[in-house]
């Protein structure tokens, strides 16, 4: 998909401190038109601070923060975004339809109420007071509020927390539909399968910095390990003795093997056990890649601290 060269949201060398704590330490981020960027990182990595800056909720101590080429605190910039925050207690006595009507009134060219409701799957809730909804339903309403202004950029901060699997997948469908319309999305999530299902690009944060940025494939490729699973009579100890194998464990009949070169291991397995069944080979998931990346970053940080001390 063609992108313009100017990013619609940008952090450039941003530093943000809260007292002695440095939440962002030279953070860089660029988001382009029509793409979905997933911002990942352990708790305290600085994701919420990065989003707060882009929404104009807080101001940076140093560096540049831009939304559509402007200061995010300018209302003109924010008229082009939709927002779903992690925790916002909306007025409990207002009905869903009233909340949608109010939020849509802030935008120059919003969607029709029925269209927003349909997209977010809240059509049957329009007449209900917000406080009477379940947690998952409230999240869906918040999603409806985020998309009702026909935004060019949608901020989704942990959008599917508290949703059941079905609701989560419906939200993913809606997000894909928005992306198809050309809307860009900045997503933060703890569910890596969510990033895997939706993201064009992934940006991993740790300790206030971006430590990796690229496609989901690139991130997974950084982890060389592959997973081999099979039903076999071979003992875990035997397999552990093979040089190519880095990790083995057994669950009932099933062997779980992690190895850098899966092909060699598979060949040896088949030679050693002619009864072997249900062989599966998988590349490491985003979860493993993510864990490894952030662990490396933690170790590097610890090493720097030791040197300093």
């Amino acid at each position: 998909m063609p992108h313009s060269h100017d990013p619609i949201a940008r952090l450039d060398g941003v530093i943000k401190r809260y007292g002695r704590l440095t939440a962002l330490d030279g953070a860089d981020l660029q988001l382009h038109r029509g793409e979905l960027l997933a911002l990942l990182g352990p708790n305290g990595a600085g994701k919420t601070t990065a989003i707060g800056l882009l929404l104009g909720l807080i101001r940076a101590d140093a560096g540049t923060v831009e939304l559509f080429g402007r200061d995010p605190q300018r209302i003109e910039a924010r008229r082009r975004i939709g927002v779903m925050l992690q925790n916002a207690e909306l007025p409990p006595t207002l009905r869903v339809g009233e909340l949608l009507r109010l939020t849509a009134s802030y935008y120059p060219a919003p969607r029709a109420l029925a269209e927003s409701a349909e997209l977010a799957g809240v059509t049957d809730l329009l007449g209900r007071p917000y406080a009477k909804l379940s947690g998952g339903q409230q999240r869906r309403v918040q999603f409806a509020l985020a998309l009702c202004g026909r935004p060019e950029l949608l901020f989704l901060d942990e959008p599917t927390v508290g949703m059941d699997i079905e609701a989560r997948q419906k939200l993913w469908v809606a997000v894909r539909q928005l992306l198809a319309e050309g809307c860009a999305v900045l997503l933060t999530t703890h569910y890596l399968e969510e990033a895997e299902a939706l993201a064009d690009r992934v940006c991993v944060m740790s300790r206030g910095r971006m430590i990796h940025e690229g496609t989901v494939e690139e991130l997974r490729a950084r982890v060389a390990l592959k997973r081999v699973r099979c039903f076999s009579t071979l003992s875990a100890d035997t397999v552990r003795g093979w040089p190519e194998v880095s990790e083995v464990h057994r669950e009932n009949e099933r062997l779980h093997i992690a190895a850098a070169e899966a092909e060699t291991v598979v060949r040896r397995l088949l030679d050693a056990d002619s009864q072997l069944r249900e062989l599966e080979v998988q590349r490491a998931g985003l979860a493993e890649a993510f864990t490894e990346l952030t662990r490396d970053a933690d170790q590097a940080a610890a090493a720097t601290q030791r040197e300093a001390a």
Partner: protein
Amino acid sequence: METVISVARPIPTIDMPRSRMLGAYLEEARSECLRYMRAPGFMLPIMLFPAMFYLLFGVLMAKSSGADATRYLLASYGVFGVMSPGLFGFGVSLALERDGGLLTFKRALPVPPGAYLLGKMLMAMVAADGVILLLLAMALSLGHVTLSPFQAGALLLTGMLGVLPFCALGMFVGTLIKGQGAPGMLQLVYLPMSFMSGLWIPLSMLPQFLQQIAPVWPSYHLDMLALAAVGVNKGPLLGHVLVLVGFAAAFLLIAARRLRRHG
């Protein structure tokens, strides 16, 4: 769709038509009124508390002193009553909404400037006149006070506009303290200030020192206006109006600045 978008920065904005802008202000005010009308548990005590005070001290206790005392106390308890929706209706709801994340959400959204605060202000003005109407009803029926329609109207107007400086003060406190701490802090402002402005007991009966510092309190100046509305105070009013306007503007500016920057 293969469209290449070329943009020069800053990326041009879509203009918000003026009619939609006005619509947003109206929607905000409407929502604010709706949500509190549906939850009377918040506003009703705020309005009934001063009304009960007037009934006890202004009507029942003052019966022996005659209708003039009741008339005097109608004005000063009216001011006491008007302060309550300003300080609590405005300040406490703001403090709670800062705590609950609603304010953060509103700040992230393109809410037109001040629409959120104007909605709350309107709500406080309606509640303030609700208090005055309650007091008027008690004064005219139980207290045998006679007021011309013009005087009653002037008192209502004083209450409606007089709530604004206290909205500003409530808002300021609401930006300093989050959530459940705000009501207690506001009581510490509300009750002593009312007493020292002569709202419960006429100023002339208070110690000399309190009489001298009374002009420091905005409620003193509003009391002077309310007394004029019911025909007790015949002195000049412009000075009191200016003090109240200045007080409201100062606190509004400080609070709005804090909200915009820190939320």
